[in-house]
Symmetry: D2
Subunit: 348 residues, 4 copies
């Protein structure tokens, strides 16, 4: 089979999501990695920035201003929130984009301004962006120019909740999302709080009641529920590199029970290559999806009558970021959706 290649640029290639895009794209048969940018480390070979990439033949990093856009068809944008808007606004119209920042995830500029403390500077672009939770966005992705890749927490939390809300099995007014994440989600910047000695052998919650992934979930879950949702969201930092586990406490509607929830999930995702509903009695574990694009999810009885517990796990750098970004690219380009994403989880 001849696979035509797409010429790719990764903007912000010196962070963890940039490295993860490279890990996956280097084995993607349709990817032709042409441009890597890194503002502060421009000119450095990738082998210096990420020695694990030393065995591969990669372009040296450049500044965004120095990119020759005539040799780029597709952009993965892994820049910090805020700076992303202007960069993407300046890209040639011909180029299609998956943006891994939060900049284009919120449809309503007012909500963006409320949570990010500044007005959105590319409101027109935002209006045309597609929220790329792949399994629920395929038709729009096919024609999208700009895709907002979902946050890691929203991806993990919403994949089980959307079918349950759509089926009217759970109450949209009472969703308690207790999230636990590995440290790579915090990025590669040198911060004291993320030093090994500050993180290992311990845990804590953070951003309690005010994490920026909350409005993104409210927006998308409201679409699934057909009306406003009310949720509580508390993330915790766990001493591990990768992995995210979400424990969601839900109220059942009508005669719904654990079995009907599990059946609804299984049916909704029966043909999904990356989504697995675990059997009764099996607890999803992050180590079972480490390094893979898979999501495992399960439903469990709550000791309180009329409630249930939904647990989902993923690798925050793969399905929670770079893997889903490539999955979105595959859909956008009409490629097989699993292309380059067949890695088996790395265990142990």
């Amino acid at each position: 089979m001849h696979i035509p290649t797409t010429r790719i640029a990764i903007l912000g290639a010196s962070g963890y999501t940039g490295a993860e895009l490279l890990r996956l794209l280097l084995c993607h048969p349709a990817a032709d990695i042409r441009v890597l940018t890194a503002e502060r480390q421009a000119g450095k070979p990738m082998a210096d920035i990420f020695p694990h990439l030393a065995p591969f033949n990669l372009p040296a990093t450049v500044k965004i201003d120095a990119v020759d856009w005539s040799e780029v068809d597709f952009v993965f944008c892994a820049l910090p929130h805020g700076t992303t808007q202007e960069v993407i606004a300046g890209l040639p119209e011909r180029v299609r984009i998956v943006d891994l920042s939060a900049d284009f995830r919120l449809y309503d500029p007012a909500i963006y301004a409320e949570w990010y403390g500044q007005p959105h500077r590319a409101v027109d672009l935002q209006a045309s962006a597609v929220y790329g939770l792949t399994e629920h966005a395929r038709p729009a992705l096919l024609v999208a120019r700009l895709v907002a890749n979902p946050g890691c927490y929203p991806t993990a939390a919403m994949l089980p909740l959307i079918p349950l809300l759509r089926a009217g099995l759970i109450d949209a007014g009472s969703l308690i999302i207790d999230a636990k994440s590995g440290v790579s989600g915090a990025g590669r910047d040198a911060k004291q709080a993320n030093l090994f000695c500050e993180v290992s052998e311990g845990m804590a919650a953070y951003g309690i009641g005010r994490h920026r992934h909350m409005p993104e979930m409210e927006q998308e879950l409201a679409l699934a529920a057909g009306g406003p949702v009310q949720l509580s969201f508390t993330p915790h930092l766990i001493p591990m590199n990768r992995g995210e586990l979400i424990t969601t406490y839900v109220r059942l509607v009508g005669n719904a029970n654990v079995n009907s929830l599990r059946a609804a999930l299984a049916k909704a995702y029966q043909n999904e290559p990356f989504l697995k509903v675990v059997p009764a009695g099996v607890a999803p574990a992050t180590r079972h999806v480490r390094g893979s694009n898979h999501v495992h999810m399960g439903v469990f009885a709550d000791h309180r009558p009329g409630h249930a517990i939904v647990i989902s796990v993923l690798d925050n750098l793969v399905k929670g970021a770079s893997g889903q970004a490539i999955q979105n690219m595959n859909v956008m380009l009409g490629l097989p959706e699993t292309m380059g994403l067949n890695q088996v989880a790395l265990f142990p």
Copy 2:
């Protein structure tokens, strides 16, 4: 100051709680460690069982049957659930006991039988046992012969909840307790599930909706609430040795809010040497109590109106087990409650 010593036996000294009792008692000025038992490893010096205790002069382990009870005044029982009942039933009446198992925590034998799958074999003793959540049990501890040391999760979860329920600030019918624990709580038995490679770099929930610490919490919280409580309890295993963090989602009653909850906690525990209510905006972290008998707790706004989030942390081997056991002994013997428990947390 002359401190009269108490002659102590530790039954089950080869597990982690046994080792932790020794770590603390070796620096306790009133403790005279006379007897250590270990059924399968009887005769072994402690230096072989726990090389970190090699520098100390400790008695060799014996079987329980071989103990000369005439030289023992006080017993810490760190035996497995189930076998504990008969051992304690056979102790001389003169000896006072803190039992670290679950065998004497439940007042109602029917509930014990329901959760442990067998009838209780020392119902009379159970009737006289005191549930030793120290800060809420002092008068009874003073005269108790047998103290049931609380489980680690119940200690961490209930210390903040009891004052809030007593003050009528939170709803007893809706308590969602999401718990996260280090691995030492799982004990020292060789089990594949607890191997380093099965635990590190990953996390999962376990005992979802049916963990045995649940009835213990229902029993004690009902006393605080003055009526039945309804709770959901889900523990998760975190890749760290020690530490437990509890995130409890509560419904507020009447005009209660985050500030009134925090104030109620601060007032209830203002004179407690081991309990600290953290200021607004500070997230309790397990690493801040590692190796110490302290509990840190905080109250946080929930994004859902009319709700709040309570977070508490402790070291599961100290305040969650051996430290609280010694704190109980101190009260039982009329010693200063903090004696031998002044360790500062080990950080990093």
Copy 3:
């Protein structure tokens, strides 16, 4: 390209090297996984033994006695040392084998008996076995029926030492090999010493001066040196899942120096896809090869005149075990040597 497939059996599929063979073979275009054996867990689906493999369609495990050998062309044998000999002796002549145990690594049955405490029970087979350090065994591998896959430590230690000894640059009489390994090398059996709490946040040496990988290194290094070698070998257990780092202290011969050593290595391995000589000043790190079949190696000045330090790293489950086993299979079958082994290291 049409790739004819090979029908594969993995004997001992319930251990970590078995799981790693599956991780890699599931993405290998020429591998047709037909048979998986697990004596004690026979009949179990792999999803129960290794939940991370649940998304894949794999045969259920059987006992070795139940295998229909007519549907197997190639065997990976990941059984414990000792039992392997008889199993392999019983395989049909037609089947080719890569054995991951130590049973066929030592040419001299007397040395086997000395280190393993029992006579070898398949001496004839041993005589025909090829020691599969791939980069130094290709011609023999092409025609071999039985390949003894090297130990993880010998692979990591010898890859840099063999070219240096062959070139006469270092003294064969003074090799000090200080090795550090992650825990997965200790296997999946439930042993107290490998519990998370016994391993994490600590380290120790083991098998000091008498580890069974020593005779294997003496045998192969003597071939490279053209005469007997004398070595010291001390392994240490490090609290991480995967990865092995070897620090070798060598005495220089004649005018050899750090630069000539580095140049000799670079020349020897200039066309090797999996072996990378790092530039001066770069320290090889296990995290740069995690999950990949790569070996990074470097040469450093020793503060003592006339000596140098050689450092090499690999993933003990990949190039140290299952990856090299597949690399050997590729050579044996005339396939491209890197087939199925192009994974980029998983970082972080």
Copy 4:
């Protein structure tokens, strides 16, 4: 017993060794903690800098310039190398000092200049400083005003080597010191290389052949050997918070063997409260000394005739830094040497 207290200042209280001094001094009956300095965070309560110290009543941090020296008798100086010299030169003559930096460890200013790249700015003070490897410095410590606290690696490496060199049992011309350390030794500054994701699940050597602890060891070991020594020293970073393990490869002199070495160590340290020579066959492990001031050491046969392997372990923040500093203070002040240092290791 009435214990007169000493009024103490800790200069540089916001780093890990500062925190560790506080952990230990808070339980030291003769310590009156009066002054804590932190230049960049001056004015902050310690509860903000180190939340694990929140339960304790500690002075807020000040700048060094703001210290009222009339209320200080004793100084622990935990400042960075280089800036230390001038600060100590400015202290009142009356004040006695233990300096935890490297600034006063080297007797020869030329060697200081060679390794630190600048001339020493307090040569007079350096001449009077005592190198505080406590067990080998007691007479000098009693009268010293300024004590240079040894580095963590030198402490761990030299404690076993000094008696062996003094007894003429090992060759001073061939010492290969392979060192492994936890991450807390790297300090609390925000550096990308020390982020959790850059350190966990991996290891690497650093400062290969040029680590600054080398001249310190050459100086002190030469004194023990009665002539120059030649050593190789390579440190490695291990993914754990605390702990240091040194594997030293030694050449035996004359008829010396493993047993005579072990006997010499046992005799030299038979009355030492913190130094333990482990029995034959026991491997020292860092987890057995975590949080304690103990050093465990053992001697092992080398596969090479005429050589042996010496292994020693300590907690780099305790005996490797703050614990030894307090041990030195105890000797300087004529207090019992173990005062405040009786903590049992924290395991697990």
